[in-house]
């Protein structure tokens, strides 16, 4: 039997983090913005079928970047957790913070114990009755959680997008304005068009299930 080499824990964590970051950096980016109408989630995604953005519960949405099968597994786990919680207690008892903690727990477990860390970054967003009640939790590959305010950027280009959006007050923007801003921040030299985008929207004024997906025609119309 081969004796395993001793690897210092600092080195091991660094190697794993590098591995995960490289995987995430290869993927396209995603941005979410809190505005007066609700929360808009916008991703560069040329695929019609492999989706990055999804409904989780009445006022909660999910977004993920990186490796598709891994964030999709997280998305499904999140929907299951939320539906089970709503069934056991009540629909009002499902909240984004609990879900974010559950995600963090699972991702940190995978990061330290599994053969390979997840190459994903995810976001859990929940829309409130007013802008002050909006919540956005950004969870990284190692399970670290950050509470984002106003906007969040995920993926390889996140740094550049963050710089572009920093300091912009989005709280009084309408949906179309916020979407334009998101697309502008996502776009490189060429502006992105409706068929290269995936857009989800959490409607602040909605009742019951507030999430809806915008189709290409609606995106094109809002961007005009």
């Amino acid at each position: 039997m081969n004796m395993p080499f001793y690897v210092p824990p600092e080195q091991m964590m660094r190697d794993r983090a590098d591995f995960a970051q490289k995987g995430i950096a290869r993927g396209r980016s995603l941005v979410t913005i809190e505005c007066a109408d609700g929360i808009v989630l916008c991703a560069e995604n040329p695929s019609r079928n492999l989706r990055k953005i999804s409904e989780i519960y009445d006022r909660i949405a999910f977004a993920g970047v990186g490796k598709y099968n891994e964030y999709d597994q997280l998305r499904i786990a999140g929907i299951r957790a939320a539906d089970l919680r709503g069934y056991t207690y009540s629909r009002d008892d499902v909240d984004a913070q609990t879900l974010a903690n559950q995600y963090a727990q699972m991702m940190s477990q995978v990061f330290t114990h599994d053969v390979k860390p997840m190459e994903v970054e995810i976001l859990v967003a929940s829309v409130g009755a007013t802008g002050a009640d909006d919540r956005m939790f950004h969870i990284r590959y190692d399970g670290s959680v950050t509470d984002e305010d106003g906007f969040a950027a995920l993926g390889g280009d996140a740094e550049r997008i963050r710089e572009a959006l920093d300091g912009v007050d989005t709280s009084s923007m309408a949906l179309s304005e916020a979407l334009k801003l998101a697309v502008e921040a996502l776009s490189g030299e060429e502006p992105l068009t409706a068929d290269q985008l995936e857009v989800g929207f959490l409607d602040r004024g909605g009742e019951g299930r507030c999430y809806r997906r915008l189709d290409n025609d609606e995106i094109a119309e809002l961007l005009q």
Partner: protein, 263 residues
């Protein structure tokens, strides 16, 4: 609770009932003794019309020879384009509806698209079949299901039996103790091209007749302002009619009976 995460071979797929079962959350009514006085809900009906379907139910629940609830709801939206109404043992019935609603929502979220209308009816039939051991103990639950088929652009209705048998009917369905009377009323006057108002008048008349001849079915109760629940399902989705509209339909029907009696 940790995040529900399953291995490849244990994954429950898009079924919420299956998932809830893994966590021991699905109720089991089969061990209940048959001699207990259990609350029962009574008559529910549905019929098609030009733009879709209407589904309706009275508000009475009985326990033996006593009225246990006067304003029970038996008609519910199961998702945006379908509705379900339930007759039978109230406890298992309400639980079945809750699980059915969640099942459809859960599937839609996981798969990114809703089940077909036929698929929804099939899901409900599996739930009724799952209740068979409890039904043998007297906890019978028999729902009806109505929806708008967005692929075929028309309203469709289904009836079920205790064993989970699923029967799509052309025009109308009814379930519960007063269903015989209600069904006859609809049968005599139903037209597939009738308007929403005509369809509502028809189910109002059917429920009134059922209440007239069946002691377990509740009629309109103007004293307390309690009227049957009537909902329409069209391409715009499920919409429950305002109570004031149903009250109006009942009072004009009662008026027509008054005139008949006077003559």
């Amino acid at each position: 609770m940790t995040l529900p995460n399953f291995g490849v071979h244990e994954d429950p797929g898009p079924s919420f009932a299956e998932l809830a079962d893994r966590y021991g959350l699905t109720p089991d009514f089969s061990s209940a003794a048959g001699s207990l006085d259990i609350t029962h809900g009574t008559t529910v009906v549905a019929c098609t019309y030009a733009d879709g379907a209407v589904i309706a139910g009275d508000r009475r629940a009985t326990s033996g020879n006593l009225i246990s609830h006067r304003n029970m709801k038996k008609v519910f939206p199961s998702d945006r384009w379908s509705g379900v109404a339930i007759a039978g043992a109230a406890g298992p019935a309400i639980e079945m509806i809750r699980l059915f609603q969640l099942q459809l929502e859960h599937y839609e979220k996981l798969e990114g698209k809703p089940l077909s209308l036929e698929g929804k009816a099939n899901q409900l039939s599996m739930m009724v079949r799952g209740n068979l051991p409890a039904a043998m103990q007297g906890m019978v639950v028999v729902p009806i299901f109505a929806g708008y088929d967005r692929r075929r652009d028309r309203g469709r209705v289904w009836a079920f039996d205790v064993t989970g048998g699923r029967y799509e009917e052309m025009n109308y369905v009814a379930s519960g103790s007063g269903s015989l009377h209600a069904r006859t009323v609809i049968k005599l006057a139903h037209r597939t091209d009738q308007s929403r108002e005509e369809a509502i008048d028809l189910v109002v008349k059917a429920l009134y007749t059922a209440a007239d001849d069946d002691s377990a079915t509740g009629g309109p109760d103007p004293l307390r302002g309690i009227y049957p629940v009537v909902a329409s399902i069209t391409s715009d989705g499920y919409a429950e009619a305002e109570e004031s509209e149903i009250a109006d339909r009942f009072s004009s029907y009662v008026e027509s009976i008054h005139q008949e009696v006077a003559e």
